[in-house]
Point group: C2
Amino acid sequence: MRQLPLSKAYQLLEPGPVVLLTTARKGRANVMTMSWHMMVEFEPPQVACVVSNANHSFAALRATGKCVIAIPARRLAAKVVKVGNSSGRDIDKFAAFGLTKMPAARVAPPLITECFANLECKVTDTRFVNKYNLFILQVLKAWIDPAQRNPRTIHHRGYGTFIVDGATIKLKSRMR
Amino acid sequence: MRQLPLSKAYQLLEPGPVVLLTTARKGRANVMTMSWHMMVEFEPPQVACVVSNANHSFAALRATGKCVIAIPARRLAAKVVKVGNSSGRDIDKFAAFGLTKMPAARVAPPLITECFANLECKVTDTRFVNKYNLFILQVLKAWIDPAQRNPRTIHHRGYGTFIVDGATIKLKSRMR
């Protein structure tokens, strides 16, 4: 994994990929699948995300205030669905689905080796957690796997239907 | 435009497409380009979005509490960039870029005829506006253009780079 400048972190999340979210509590790591997230600020990068209180990860995220957003490419799609269809209450999803934990630099939750990008995050605002399960995160450190070139991310359309990234187009724009 | 059940609105936004946001104030409509949005609740569908206070649309959205999220397909990409690179302070973007306003049913801001989906929204929570420019919206009515089949949306990766929807894959999943 190579460090990515924090100023570029938004370019990973703004397109709306399905991501994995890792947490850790009492020495035990967990991972869930997440599609409800958005950028809130460029620098330092801040992200809003919704983690349902029905998810086992919710309590760990709220208690520890730390997580990793790991971004999987197309080839991990089947594992991403399995992660989403099971609960850390019942199984160790890393072991069950062959996802490799790698220590993060600034937070206890692990990076995921198979993901092409990993964002270490801390919770910075919990005022919307009770009403919306909405957490505000700050990205502390960003990693990218240079061995995965032009990774195609997946985007969820409901009930197991995903769109895979297609062509890239470049248009003259002044927007960041 | 045909009505879409509100229960399916999330399937349009969850994949993270670039969208257009229309507002109206004092009889004048405006439109901006937006990529920072996410689902917050399935039913009634609630959406969080960030509209920078540097955008001309910000004041109209805050003052009126109404907007339309219009979703463009690939063929509108050049117009979407032009909308993003100009301000309603200076020009009528609908006229300048050939976007057709169509009356909405429940809100004053217009639908956009050329977009394959339009979501009429009202602001339901402004408590995060001052700190994050973050609005919570509820979708009141959803429209889809049945004439646009399998529209490919675009996803922003920064500085005029967009990813176009590629292949659709279906995996066995229990996730909604």
